[in-house]
């Protein structure tokens, strides 16, 4: 049985850990709020681009021609843009993406080229037998326009050059603060968007022409999808870390309670022992 001193030392250590996990939870809560605001700010822009693309594709019908809309007859190689966090301490957030990547390879049965964003997945790919396309570095500073554009340009170039026949985004979808699920979504070719009929083509002005506008809207729509995946993943990471740290704080509280009980028992036993010794000594006299 551990001594009273050992138990007290343990309580102090768990208490320190609890302080750290509680602080990390508070930091994640603040960061989550900012990440959710950024996600919300993108929503009207992303929604309108989707609507515009739907309207243009709807108006052009079968004439809607853009290389990023073309479905390839045979898919031999797939580029997978995978997003995780840079740091751990966020529960199963990164693990579920790694498992989903392995599952994706098994299910699709074709060659995958991985484009990681986030230190965790970059390390995993480095150690695995997955083919590496380009590592985009850390996710935390990646939500800038320049980085989003660079990632989009790289993925689009891989698709247009024929190096890959499809581009998939594998990331954690932010469903709620307590639920993030690994989801693989096709980025390229651009999936059929909901086509809105709206006004007849003749009633609308298209400057400088429908095809030219389509050529402008499609790449930006892809860019918006990339940005959305990054922002969702960042928000999901903070939510996952907040929950993980909340659970860790609760566990530490429970552990301190159990250890305190144990310490009280040990203290009581020591007092009883001492009393018995005094009584024993008195009786001997």
């Amino acid at each position: 049985m551990p001594s009273l001193k050992d138990i007290r030392k343990r309580i102090s250590s768990v208490n320190n850990t609890k302080k750290i996990t509680r602080a990390m939870k508070l930091v994640s809560t603040a960061k989550l709020k900012r990440a959710q605001d950024a996600m919300g700010a993108l929503k009207p822009y992303a929604g309108k681009y989707r609507e515009m693309l739907g309207s243009l594709v709807g108006q052009l019908g079968g004439d809607a021609a853009h290389p990023l809309l073309e479905q390839r007859a045979e898919v031999r190689r797939i580029a997978v843009f995978v997003l995780t966090s840079d740091r751990g301490m966020c529960g199963g957030f990164n693990g579920q993406i790694q498992k989903a990547l392995i599952r994706l390879r098994r299910e699709r049965g074709v060659e995958l080229v991985v484009y990681p964003l986030g230190k965790r997945i970059a390390k995993f790919v480095e150690k695995s037998d997955f083919e590496l396309g380009e590592a985009f570095g850390e996710i935390t500073p990646a939500a800038t326009t320049e980085t989003v554009r660079h990632i989009t340009d790289t993925l689009v170039a891989a698709f247009l050059s024929g190096a890959v026949d499809e581009v998939v985004v594998l990331s954690n979808e932010f469903r709620s603060v307590i639920e993030q699920a690994a989801v693989a979504r096709t980025l390229l070719p651009v999936a059929a968007v909901e086509q809105s009929g709206g006004e007849a083509a003749g009633d609308l002005i298209y400057e400088p022409g429908q095809q030219s506008l389509l050529a402008y809207v499609v790449p930006r729509y892809v860019e918006v999808q990339v940005r959305q995946a990054i922002l969702e993943s960042i928000a999901g990471e903070h939510a996952a870390r907040m929950n993980a740290m909340n659970n860790a704080t609760d566990n530490a509280t429970e552990m301190i309670r159990a250890l305190t009980l144990q310490a009280n028992r040990a203290r009581q036993a020591a007092i009883t022992k001492e009393l018995m010794e005094i009584i024993g000594g008195a009786e001997a006299l």
């Binding site: 700010a41 609308l204 298209y206 400057e207 940005r227």
Partner: protein, 130 residues
Amino acid sequence: MAELRLEIVTPTGRVLDVMAGEVRAPGAAGELGILPQHRPGLIKLSGGAVAWTGAAAGEVLIRGGIAEIRPDGVLILADQAVRRADADRAEAQAILDAQAVAMAAETYLDDDHIFGFASSRAYAETILKG
């Protein structure tokens, strides 16, 4: 006097939502004047200033985008937008410097990138003109 609603939205949020008498915007094919009850359409925009008249008249500088015109309003989806008062001259100069480096490197650019390049240039020059 009839008015139309002018909204400017960027990937980082809504920059403007006002009622305007007339809106002037830098169309890719030349300057654009939009009045209430304008024929609806989609119009590509280059970099420059979007100005509007009315009680809250003002100017927002955009770095290219697309405008959706409806009879009762204009929605501009801009790659980047900033109110004239908040425009950052250092950022504008940085854009021009980066472009000078890219031009010296003679990097190949497709049509979309050339348009983006020109829009960014127009945006930066409009800021620097003051």
